[in-house]
Symmetry: C2
Subunit: 353 residues, 2 copies
């Protein structure tokens, strides 16, 4: 080992979901939206004045911050924008989780939380979901260095009642509490209204799922002005210009097209509800998902077998080789046609198993 | 103060150069390229298939990494890409500067280095430039936790000989040495060939200056495969998908249009050399810049006065209220027309001072 390796920050990185790119594949493994972004995004992109790219973007991300503030009826000073919600969450961990006490998050949840904790050497304790895959609010009401959970949670899809979130929030005034709402538009109740009442609450959302722009990398967070100011200070100490000009412009276009947003959202939700029913009829069990994916298990056919058989048929779903969930598959909601082909393949696999 | 504020990471952030947006302004304050990006960038942008934005980008940034590797004749495994060179440098500080010994950089240099050190609680010692605004290589040959310097340096524009860089490099095998080459294309000699010989060397470059894409946010770094792997591990622990799809595609287009790149580069260099002569005739002194800016001082007219008077005439240049350089202005090289108007204004200001 070279001498310089002693001072390298060594980490076990997050493993992102595979990004296969095969002709004719059905990609249900990373919770992308099956519908394209708003036609307004295309218009803005194709009419973009490329000459402007020689100039730095607005470091405050003003246009997008204002569009989000208007859309969600908050003040621009309550909004922070980043390169996907992962960038926003990483900066939140760096900015706010500097206690010697452990931060708390569920044992089964977005698998990046412990990775960020390890990266920044933040102590943490994971809290087990109950036997129904639900977060137990009591687990987060003890002394801690900060709280983060996803609502709806991933990969379970289970949403919490707003009253329960408020109970957690109210019991931890000395630390920052982050609600990661990547999937909130598909059915949960957002904690956003609570930011007016609790100065230690952050609510994170993203363009990657409900707004069909995973490829653009836009995430954002709402919180009280002081929290957002601290976050901006750290951002300006890390990278002043995180959002490129094209992404800012297309992001604004997407936010402004509310009709398209709602229309595609409702299509995904309708397909999800139909799938719950049809998969249930095939014997699958699953938590009641309020997200754009289902977390399914079959009493006879092992998840890993199903994963491999689906892959042979050019259908990609997500499997986690982790205790408690290693017999489950996370299946993103595709178009109706995609889901019909998925269902047909699943039937075939079950029949021949 | 709320109790939660105790655990907030408090920092004094970097102040980015002002981004004015006034009709008819001449913007010479943030070292942007006066020429637009390659026409191939526009073509790719305007033909981009927006439907694809619903999908996550390639987390390895493969297409751009390969294009850079091909262009610079290195292996893809020796290249790392980020959201501007600031993102790349921030991740380098986080990954490699974890010694208890101080890192070393010049006292007059890119003013983000001490900001990153403060953000990540890295001890540092700045090393004074000599009376000619040159880096003294001996200052970096003592025991330290890492070395970073810009070549050409900013805001001086002064370039180092490659042999001097190699001397520093060879004397510090136990730490990582970063050469920040944001301005290298305008005249310096890149340290890139040294990465084959020294396993602890990182060479950082950017699309923001010579490739006229500050608005796109693309930076990159070359180094040996093990360094790049460590950097990727930390990146995948921070944000798996930092580069959006559009930026990846336009970045590749820019790299492939080498003829346009060289043509605009030569125009900027020619204008810079003409300006050195004309400003010299007006009594200005300046270090011999190998970058796309000049760092000028006038024996009679104070820099701050010149700054304010130029601003009244809708011309923006950069002033640093810092010891040793508070009577100097950094002036980016614009088009010939812009520089002629700048010169005419400067003459007028000097005459009436």
């Amino acid at each position: 080992m070279a001498k310089w390796e002693e001072n390298v920050r060594k980490v076990v990185p997050y493993t992102p979901g595979e990004q296969p790119n095969q002709p004719g594949m059905i990609k249900l493994n990373t919770n992308e939206n099956p519908y394209p972004p708003s036609p307004m995004v295309e218009k803005v992109l194709h009419e973009f004045n490329t000459d402007k790219l020689r100039l730095y973007p607005d470091p405050t991300n003003g246009s997008l911050v204002y569009a989000l503030a208007e859309c969600y009826n908050v003040k621009p000073s309550q909004v922070f924008v980043g390169v996907g919600s992962d960038d926003v969450l990483a900066l939140c961990f760096l900015t706010f989780f500097n206690s010697k006490k452990p931060i708390l998050f569920p044992d089964i949840t977005y698998s990046f939380y412990d990775v960020w904790a390890d990266l920044f050497r933040i102590p943490y304790e994971d809290q087990p979901l109950d036997e129904n895959m639900c977060i137990r609010k009591e687990d987060y009401m003890k002394e801690n260095g900060g709280v983060i959970f996803a609502n709806p949670n991933a990969p379970t899809g289970v949403a919490m009642e707003l009253s329960e979130i408020e109970e957690i929030e109210a019991s931890t005034p000395e630390v920052i509490c982050i609600v990661d709402e990547a999937y909130i538009d598909f059915g949960g109740t957002s904690a956003l209204p609570l930011i007016e009442k609790y100065d230690n609450l952050l609510v994170v959302q993203t363009f990657s799922k409900s707004r069909a722009m995973a490829g653009s990398r836009i995430g954002y967070v709402f919180g009280n002005e002081r929290l957002i100011q601290y976050l901006n200070d750290v951002k300006y100490s890390f990278n002043s210009y995180t959002m490129d000009q094209v992404t800012l412009a297309t992001g604004v276009a997407a936010i402004r097209d509310d009709a398209y947003f709602k229309e595609t959202l409702n299509r995904v939700i309708a397909t999800r509800e139909r799938m719950k029913k049809e998969l249930g009829e095939l014997g699958f069990t699953m938590p009641d998902s309020k997200s754009n994916f289902l977390f399914i298990s079959h009493p006879q056919v092992p998840a890993k077998y199903l994963l491999d058989e689906l892959r042979k048929r050019n259908i990609f779903v997500r499997y986690f080789a982790k205790p408690r969930i290693d017999n489950m598959l996370r299946v993103s909601i595709g178009t109706d046609d995609e889901m019909d082909r998925f269902l047909a393949c699943v039937k075939e696999i079950i029949a021949s198993a």
